[in-house]
Amino acid sequence: MSFLDNRFVNFFKGFAVTGKQPVKPRVTVEYPEQKRQMPERRHGRHVLNRYEDGMEKCIGCELCAGVCPAKCIYVRGADNPPDTPVSPGERYGFVYEINFLRCIHCDMCVEACPTEAITESKLFEFSFTNRDDAIYTKSELVVDDTGKPKVLPWEDWKPGDDQNTSGWVRATAPSGRADLEGTPLWSGELGYGVRPAQAGQSDPTAADYAADFDIALREVEGAELKGVGVSSTRPTRSGEWAPGRS
C-alpha cells in the first residue's frame, strides 16, 4: 500500500478525516437544559459539616487557612462557651469565611482538616453580582439542622450535588491514628451518618471497618446516636461519572 502514501493521496485523506465527523455521535450536550453527571470527586462549593448530634466539626485550628494556596480562607478560633459548647472540644471556629473569588477548589483545605469539618459539595453553578456575596460567611457555609447545605438565592443546586459532599480519600487518617492510614474513613455526619468507602477505592470491608470504628468512637465519647445512622447507601457503579455522552 506504499503507493497510497504520497502527498496527493494524503491530501484527500485529510478530507476523509473531517468528512467522517458529521456521522459520528456528538459528544456535546445542551448544557443548561441537559447536564452531565458530576464526577464522584467533583470539587465545588464548600460546606462546614456537623456531627450527628448537631455539634460543629470545626475546631478553629486554622490549618485550612494555612494550607490554602489562594489564601481565600479566613478563620478565627475561640474557646467554647462551657454551658453551650459549639463543638466537642476546647475551641470552635468563631469566624469562618471563604472568598470564592479567590478559591481555586484545590481541595487542600479538605485534606488538611483534622476533623473533616470542611468538605466540598459538587455545586459549581453559583454566581454572584457583588463582592459581598462572593465571601461566604460561617452561617452560609455550615449545614442546617437536617445536615443539608444551605441554599443561597444565587446557587443552582441539583439533586445529588449535596450528597457525599467530598469523595476525597484522605492521605492521613482521621484522628491521627497511624494504623488507619490510607483507609478511607469518615466520622459520623449530620444527615448522612457514617459514609462507607467508595466503590473500587479500597477493600470492601473498609466500610464495615469504618462503621465499627465510628460506633466504638461514639461509645468512648458517649455521644448520642442521631441522624440517618450507619446504614447509608453505598455508591453504585452506575453512579460513577461517565465521560462522553449522557
Binding site: V17, T18, Q21, P22, K24, R26, E30
Partner: protein
C-alpha cells in the same frame, strides 16, 4: 526555442477555432445570424417589459441577500458538523436565524471612523466590494425561461454580449474595495492586509482569466446562456468539466477560492498575524457590508462555477418536468459544501506557498490547458502537439524552479554569513 511553436499554435488555434466551432445547439454569432437575447425584448420595450425587468432586478437582489443569510448559517452549521459540534442552535428554529440576528445587531452598532482615516474613501470602500458581487450575479442563468401571459423571459437578469467577462470585471473591481478599505483606514495592519489581498487577488486573476478563456473556446461564445446551452444535451458527460479534461475546472476552483480569500488562502484575514485584516477598523454597517460581500461572492462564484463547468441548470427531467432551477440550486449547494469542507480541513498556506502555487503552478497549468483544449478543438494532431509542447514546457519549468530554489538557498547562506 519552444516558445515560438507554442505561440504559433495559440494564434492558429484561435483562428481555426473561430471558424470551426459548431456544436449541436450552440448559438454561434456570425454564422447563424446575430445571437438573440432574452425573448422578452423581441417585441420592443413597453411598460410590462419595464416592470418585468424591475421585478427581476429586485428578485435577484433579494435572492442574493437571502442566500447570504443562508450561507453564513450553512457554513457555521456545516463547519460545526465537520468538527463534531452542533453549531449555533439558539436563535430561531435550530439556530437558523442566527445570521439574521447578527446582521440586525451589526446594523444597530455605532459607526466608528478612525482619526487618520480618509473619510470619503473609508465609507466608499465597502460598497466598492459589495456592488460588483451583486452585478456578477446578474449574468448567471438560473435555468430555462418562464412565461407569464404572452411574455416569455429567461431566469437570468442580464445577458450582455460580453457575458462572462462581467464576472472577471466584478472580481477585479472587488480588489479596489479591499485595497481602498485597507489604505483609507489610516492604520498599519489593515494596510498590510490590503496589500496582501490585492497582491493575492491580482496573482490569481491571470489563472482565472485563462480558465474562463478555455471555457469560452469550448462554448464558442461569451454569453453565459450560450455557455450553458453548449453544455446541454446529455447529463454529466457533456459538461465543460469533462469536455475540458477536468484540469481547468480544478484550476478555476482554486483560483476563485484564492480570489475570494477563502481558507486556505485567507492570509488577508490571518488573525494571528494581522489582527483581522483589511476590515480591522470597520464596525457596524461597513463591517456588515464587507461580510455580506464576502459571502455573496462565495455563493455567486459557486453559481458561476456551476454555469461554466457543471452545465448550469442542466440535469435530467424529474417526472417529465424540466426542473432546471432545482438542479442549479443542488449543484451550487454541493459546491458550497465543498468550500466549507475545505475550510474545515486545510490549514492556511504560507505567503510564499500562495505565490508559488499561483505563479508557478496555476498560471502555466491553465495556459497549457488552454493550448491543449484549443488544439483538441481543431483536430487530434494539434491537440497532441499542444499536449507534448505543454509537457515539454512543464519539464523545463520544473527544472527552472528547482534551479532557482537551489540558487536562492545558496544565496541565503551567504546573506546569513554577511548579515551583521
Amino acid at each position: 526555442m519552444t516558445a515560438s511553436p507554442l505561440l504559433g499554435s495559440v494564434v492558429a488555434g484561435a483562428r481555426l477555432a473561430a471558424a470551426h466551432m459548431v456544436g449541436p445547439g450552440v448559438p454561434t454569432p456570425g454564422a447563424r445570424g446575430p445571437y438573440t437575447g432574452d425573448p422578452i425584448f423581441n417585441h420592443g420595450m413597453d411598460l410590462v417589459v419595464w416592470i418585468f425587468v424591475v421585478v427581476k432586478v429586485v428578485l435577484a437582489f433579494a435572492i442574493v441577500m437571502v442566500s447570504v443569510l443562508f450561507m453564513v448559517m450553512f457554513e457555521r452549521k456545516v463547519v460545526a458538523a465537520l468538527g463534531n459540534r452542533p453549531g449555533p442552535n439558539r436563535a430561531g428554529p435550530d439556530g437558523w436565524l442566527q445570521s439574521l440576528a447578527d446582521g440586525i445587531k451589526l446594523f444597530f452598532k455605532e459607526t466608528l471612523v478612525p482619526e487618520h482615516a480618509d473619510r470619503f474613501v473609508y465609507r466608499l470602500a465597502p460598497y466598492l466590494s459589495l456592488v460588483p458581487v451583486f452585478v456578477a450575479f446578474s449574468i448567471v442563468p438560473v435555468g430555462g425561461t418562464i412565461s407569464i401571459g404572452s411574455y416569455t423571459t429567461r431566469l437570468q437578469l442580464a445577458d450582455p454580449p460580453w457575458g462572462i467577462l462581467v464576472m472577471l470585471m466584478a472580481s477585479g473591481i472587488s480588489v479596489y474595495g479591499v485595497m481602498l478599505a485597507g489604505w483609507s483606514s489610516g492604520s498599519k495592519y489593515p494596510l498590510i492586509g490590503a496589500v496582501r489581498a490585492s497582491a493575492q487577488m491580482i496573482s490569481y486573476e491571470a489563472a482565472l482569466g485563462l480558465t474562463v478563456a478555455t471555457v469560452v473556446v469550448l462554448s464558442g461564445s461569451l454569453h453565459t446562456s450560450a455557455i450553458v446551452a453548449a453544455q446541454h444535451g446529455g447529463f454529466l458527460y457533456h459538461w465543460n468539466i469533462f469536455r475540458a479534461f477536468g484540469a481547468p475546472a480544478a484550476i478555476f476552483f482554486i483560483a476563485i477560492t484564492a480570489e475570494m480569500a477563502r481558507p486556505p488562502f485567507d492570509l488577508v484575514e490571518a488573525e494571528e498575524e494581522l489582527a483581522g485584516g483589511f476590515n480591522l477598523e470597520y464596525s457596524s454597517i461597513g463591517f456588515a457590508l464587507f461580510y455580506l460581500a464576502e459571502y455573496a461572492a462565495l455563493v455567486i462564484n459557486s453559481a458561476i462555477f456551476t454555469t461554466l463547468f457543471l452545465g448550469g441548470p442542466d440535469g435530467p427531467r424529474i417526472a417529465g418536468a424540466s426542473v432546471g432551477p432545482l438542479w442549479f440550486v443542488i449543484k451550487v449547494l454541493v459546491l458550497l459544501y465543498v468550500y466549507v469542507w475545505i475550510r474545515a480541513t486545510l490549514p492556511r498556506l504560507r505567503y510564499d506557498q500562495l505565490m508559488d502555487l499561483g505563479w508557478k503552478r496555476l498560471i502555466p497549468g491553465s495556459l497549457a490547458m488552454l493550448l491543449i483544449v484549443v488544439g483538441a478543438r481543431i483536430n487530434w494532431r494539434w491537440g497532441l502537439a499542444a499536449l507534448s509542447g505543454s509537457l515539454f514546457a512543464f519539464i523545463l519549468l520544473t527544472r527552472a524552479i528547482e534551479v532557482a530554489q537551489s540558487r536562492q538557498e545558496e544565496g541565503s547562506q551567504f546573506s546569513e554569513l554577511e548579515a551583521p
